[in-house]
């Protein structure tokens, strides 16, 4: 994967050196409209007319939502996760698009439909972009604490938030259950590239959940934990609010033509020279993505350096509707 990423960086750099900007593929309200102006029939069960949706300025640099479940393996190149699923498990349906708060459903996996029923288990893998969460949490431990403190009355805590070692990394772990539904939820979470990646396992059978939790079948990037996963190494360093005034040399504000009042969270990668390298529109209408990309391509940042060595930076900018004030953080020390 490192070689793959390096090759992408080299390719992107060569494109920029040649005076070409990465082509914009900011999506369209009508999927594949460039390919199909007309179809004999509208495909059944298709989403051709989209609302706010995710898109990116190029298709080469991985984005969080590009997770795959194939041949028994969940992988997400953006997060550097590879997870070998339990035998026979797969994904029946892909998840919804990313939300305007930067929440992703990366995968929904489980056993074959024929085994669907009270004896089954399932797993939901999500990611929360911590640049855009309205929740008062800065990492996986705090997010798990928040979850525990805001459990609905229907649920009871089964195992209070604690740490768990998975794939030699420290995860946040929390379990709760519903006495009425007789369902149990195991939640493990880790921080990667300023996102909290959450694995939610559900079953009536805690032994089955223990078994799933104990499977040693996950590969993760180095240097990630429940409290720290700030990128670096082969991926950009992620820094919250790097696009504040003191770091921006040239700023051009986008002008939206339609009034939709939705927040538009955008992740950008700034190259070592301080220019925009990659734009990820987490949730935007096509016209908004176009306006933002037209503006951002003119932005110039102060290059960021670690120990005097320039590095790429990944950060978030919220366009459109202003962010709401975050609620107070959950009480109690983290990890308790």
């Amino acid at each position: 994967m490192n070689l793959y990423f390096l090759s992408l960086v080299v390719l992107s750099a060569s494109l920029l050196a040649a005076g070409q900007t990465p082509s914009l593929n900011s999506g369209s309200s009508v999927e594949s409209s460039n390919k199909h102006q007309s179809l004999p029939k509208v495909p059944a069960e298709s989403i051709l007319v989209k609302g706010a949706w995710s898109s990116a300025s190029d298709s080469m640099i991985p984005v969080p939502e590009a997770a795959t479940v194939s041949e028994g393996v969940f992988s997400d190149p953006y997060f550097g996760i590879s997870y070998k699923l339990p035998q026979d498990w797969s994904q029946e349906y892909e998840g919804p698009p990313a939300s305007e708060n930067g929440r992703y459903v990366l995968a929904q996996i489980g056993p074959p439909k024929t085994r669907d029923g009270p004896d089954s288990a399932s797993m939901l893998i999500t990611a929360q972009d911590m640049f855009f969460t309205p929740l008062p949490a800065a990492n996986a431990v705090e997010l798990t604490e928040y979850l525990k403190h805001h459990l609905q009355a229907d649920y009871k805590v089964e195992i209070a938030p604690t740490s768990a070692k998975i794939a030699d990394r420290s995860f946040s772990f929390f379990a709760y259950w519903s006495p009425v539904a007789e369902l149990h939820w195991y939640v493990v979470a880790i921080q990667i590239r300023c996102h909290v990646v959450q694995f939610v396992m559900t079953s009536r059978d805690t032994k089955l959940l223990d078994h799933l939790l104990g499977l040693n079948n996950m590969k993760l990037p180095a240097g990630v934990s429940a409290t720290r996963g700030d990128g670096g190494g082969p991926v950009p360093v992620c820094i919250n609010d790097y696009a504040r005034d003191e770091n921006v040399i040239t700023r051009i504000d986008p002008v939206f033509t339609a009034r939709r009042f939705n927040p538009v969270p955008v992740r950008i990668i700034i190259d070592k020279q301080g220019k925009i390298k990659h734009i990820h529109f987490i949730s935007a209408f096509p016209d908004q993505a176009k306006a933002i990309s037209d503006a951002l391509e003119q932005w110039k940042f102060k290059p960021y350096a670690i120990d005097g060595k320039p590095v790429e930076v990944e950060t978030g900018i919220l366009f459109g509707r202003a962010r709401q004030t975050r609620a107070p953080r959950a009480s109690g020390p983290a990890g308790q």
Binding site: S29, V30, S32, S33, H36, Q37, S38, L39, P40, K41, V42, A44, E45, S46, I47, L48, V49, G51, A52, W53, E92, Y93, E94, G95, P96, P97, S99, E100, N101, R103, V105, Q108, D116, S122, L124, T133, P134, L143, Y146, L147, H150, Q152, D154, Y155, S178, V180, A181, L183, W185, V187, V200, T202, R204, A258, R259, R260, N262, F285, Q324, A327
Partner: protein, 464 residues
């Protein structure tokens, strides 16, 4: 799990049998629950709005004509000629009835020179049709040209009160051949005044409480392009207010121009071309808008029809819950309560929130003030996946986004989901699960329940 419930022996046997077999939708509950009454207490109506409700009630059931009657303006295109014909079940103001009144409009002379669309059947759902895309000249769906507007089913052609207007119906056969036609059923309006009177801050706070869910659910709100506030009526929450809801329906469903929509409405494809022909304009002979306020009248009658309709819906009480009969026997209250707890525990309530909050102070009537709204909806729009997607965008809602349908009154609803595709509650639940749907994980949870638990949940839903 221990349950200390008293269950009589025959009923216990019935439950065992029920648990062993597939779960059953108890179906439409026929016993009267008093749905359709006004929320106004006549003894606590300081502003005198009871008269406005009654006036709206009467106008809601008036039969509209094109011209030469007391109620003019119908057409030139329409889906029906009476609000109450579509909003009928289980009482006036509700959703579609068991017998589709649209199926009778040709034989009864309301739409004499029309052909009954193939999808309108005697006992099927009352429908509105929309084409997601315009067709090209070869009859193919032009996916680069979204349409999404209503294709009214009928025209006034052949009516004695419609002059020389001889419009053709939309080419439904061509749209169907291109798989380019979707349907909507009427949304029930009971309790709509309470929904209208929820402040945005209440809905936003309700949403904030739900952000940490472990279900993969992240809804948003549809918003007014005029002032940016939350819109909340219609299948995609595209309408801001009951006035707007009524004004649009009067114009789109009955072809009656009004103070909010002052022109007669052509089909989307006509609007792209030359609009309506002159032979089909001003058919009432009174000019536009066809519905206006009535200065010569007194009291409530001075209002225009749209305002009267809005008042009728605004002052309709929420649908009362009731007992449930399954296979001829009443379901014990304890099982209904268990179903309610299951509904919440597996995550249904994350969107179908039993109460999104309490209304603000009402300037209409005290009955709308400070009331808990038990709508079973968060009034957000959610991505509902490929199985429910209709590829129609309204406001900021995309082709697969729908407002969480309020579930109050579900016990007496016949046709389910936005297009009335099923009458079976179990099917409606399972259809929430598909590619790109926010509800898939919740349905996975539902499928982990035992048959007996699923039965309790279905029973509970029919109690609403």
């Amino acid at each position: 799990m221990s349950k200390s419930r008293f269950v009589s022996l025959p009923l216990a046997l019935l439950l065992i049998v029920s648990a062993a077999s597939a779960q059953t939708d108890p179906g439409v509950q026929s016993a009267s629950r008093g749905t359709g009454a006004t929320i106004i207490s006549p003894s606590n109506d300081p502003n005198g709005f009871t008269a406005f409700f009654n006036d709206g009630f009467n106008r809601f059931r008036e039969i509209e004509a094109v011209s030469n009657s007391a109620n003019n303006g119908l057409g030139p295109r329409f889906n029906s000629n009476q609000c109450s014909s579509c909003h009928a079940q289980p009482a006036m103001g509700g959703s579609g009835a068991a017998v589709n009144p649209q199926f009778l409009l040709i034989s009864s002379g309301v739409a004499p020179d029309n052909t009954m669309p193939s999808f309108i059947t005697a006992n099927g759902p009352t429908l509105e049709a929309r084409a997601p895309f315009f067709l090209n000249s070869s009859g193919e769906a032009n996916t680069a040209a979204p349409n999404g507007g209503v294709e009214d089913l009928f025209t006034v052609a052949g009516r004695s009160d419609a002059g020389n207007c001889n419009l053709a119906q939309p080419n439904f056969a061509a749209y169907l051949a291109a798989n380019d036609l979707i349907f909507r059923i009427p949304t029930p309006t009971f309790g709509a005044g309470l929904i209208e009177n929820l402040d945005d801050s209440t809905l936003l706070a309700n949403r904030a409480k739900n952000l940490s869910n472990t279900l993969g659910i992240s809804g948003t709100f549809n918003r007014s392009g005029n002032d940016g506030t939350i819109t909340r009526f219609g299948w995609k929450a595209q309408n801001k207010s009951l006035h707007m809801f009524a004004g649009e329906a009067y114009n789109v469903e009955m072809g009656i121009s009004n103070e909010l929509f002052p022109q007669d409405r052509p089909l989307p494809e006509e609007e792209q071309a030359a609009g309506l022909p002159s032979s089909c304009l001003n058919l009432s002979g009174t000019g536009y808008p066809e519905d206006t306020s009535n200065p010569s009248q007194t009291n409530a009658a001075v209002l225009d029809d749209v305002s009267a309709f809005a008042n009728f819906m605004r002052f309709l009480a929420p649908p009362p819950p009731g007992s449930v009969v399954l296979n001829g026997s009443q379901v014990p209250a304890g099982l209904i309560a268990a179903g309610s707890a299951l509904f919440s525990s597996i995550g249904c309530a994350a969107c179908h929130n039993p109460s999104p909050g309490t209304t603000q102070l009402s300037n209409f009537v005290p009955a709308l003030s400070n009331v808990q709204v038990n709508a079973y909806s968060d009034l957000e729009i959610h991505n509902m996946g490929t199985r429910l997607a209709d590829n129609v965008s309204q406001g900021s809602a995309g082709g697969d986004q729908f407002r969480t349908a309020p579930l109050w009154g579900l016990g007496q609803r016949i046709f389910l989901l936005h297009d009335g595709r099923t009458t079976n509650l179990y099917t409606a639940i399972e259809d929430h699960k598909s590619t790109r749907s926010e509800a898939t994980t919740v349905i996975n949870n539902f499928n982990k329940l035992t048959s007996a638990q699923q039965q309790e949940l279905l029973d509970f839903l029919r109690s609403l």
